[in-house]
Assembly symmetry: C2
Homo-oligomer: 126 residues x 2
DNA sequence: ATAATAGCTGGAGTGTAGTCCATGTCAAGA
DNA sequence: TCTTGACATGGACTACACTCCAGCTATTAT
């Protein structure tokens, strides 16, 4: 099953321009039909989904590209790819901790503001 | 207690250029000494810490600036500030879920690659 | 036959968040 | 007095990740 660029745009949340940009920087390389139009395979779709996930979690395209390069080089690079994925796992675990720290900071701040608000209301009703 | 820009740079992980940039876009407005040099108060430091946290969790400077504007306008805006902080809390909770989804995706992928590696080793030892 | 639709290319432009640089001022130490 | 160090300013430059545009081609619908 193949998809054309417009179908991919609708299927996933990636604009045609972005898809072409990703190709330009070497992230993805779909086949072409006889009229030179891009044909994205099921494997391409899976890869785009992966890219999408990595981007959602703030991996820069440069990093994603490293992984893409390894994919292109074939099975010899599987060990290296595992390394990259494990690094990313570590980063994400770290990031969750950062978020938790920020969340508790927010809670404290919100709580402070709320008591400020109550004080204000009291003084106004005097 | 006041700090000069070089001290702030060392104290926190923010370069002098970035500190001046933040001032330019109106995020922070330190006092000045008689020689026009910036003097950051303890409150400024606390505010920079807050900015740092928000940035760590990917809030764009524009959003941070909204909050900064409300701060400048004084106590009347506390309710609005609570709204912003609660929105951010929602976003971060959401983001944790995104990260978890990506993490389980990574686990699956790593597991697949590892079985691939084992297969490869077996076929090589034949 | 013609017009609309979907695609192509190369290249320019945009927004975000800095980062760098030339030039200048001021205070303190040798 | 002279130099060094820390600061100031305005403005140019950069990296990243798109986004837009002009001009072209091929397929489909009327």
């Amino acid at each position: 099953m193949y998809y054309r660029i417009g179908e991919i745009e609708k299927k996933m949340q990636i604009s045609i321009d972005t898809l072409r940009y990703y190709e330009k920087i070497g992230l993805i390389c779909p086949e072409r039909d006889t009229n030179n139009r891009r044909l994205y395979s099921g494997a391409d779709v899976a890869w785009l989904e992966f890219i999408f996930r990595l981007k959602q979690t703030h991996m820069p395209l440069k990093e994603i590209k490293k992984y893409a390069e390894l994919r292109k080089q074939g099975d010899e690079t599987i060990a290296k790819r595992i390394d990259l994925l494990e690094e990313q796992r570590t980063r994400l675990t770290q990031e969750k901790m950062t978020i938790d720290a920020c969340l508790s900071y927010l809670e404290t701040k919100i709580a402070h503001y709320k008591t400020d608000l109550i004080k204000k209301e009291c003084s106004q009703s005097e």
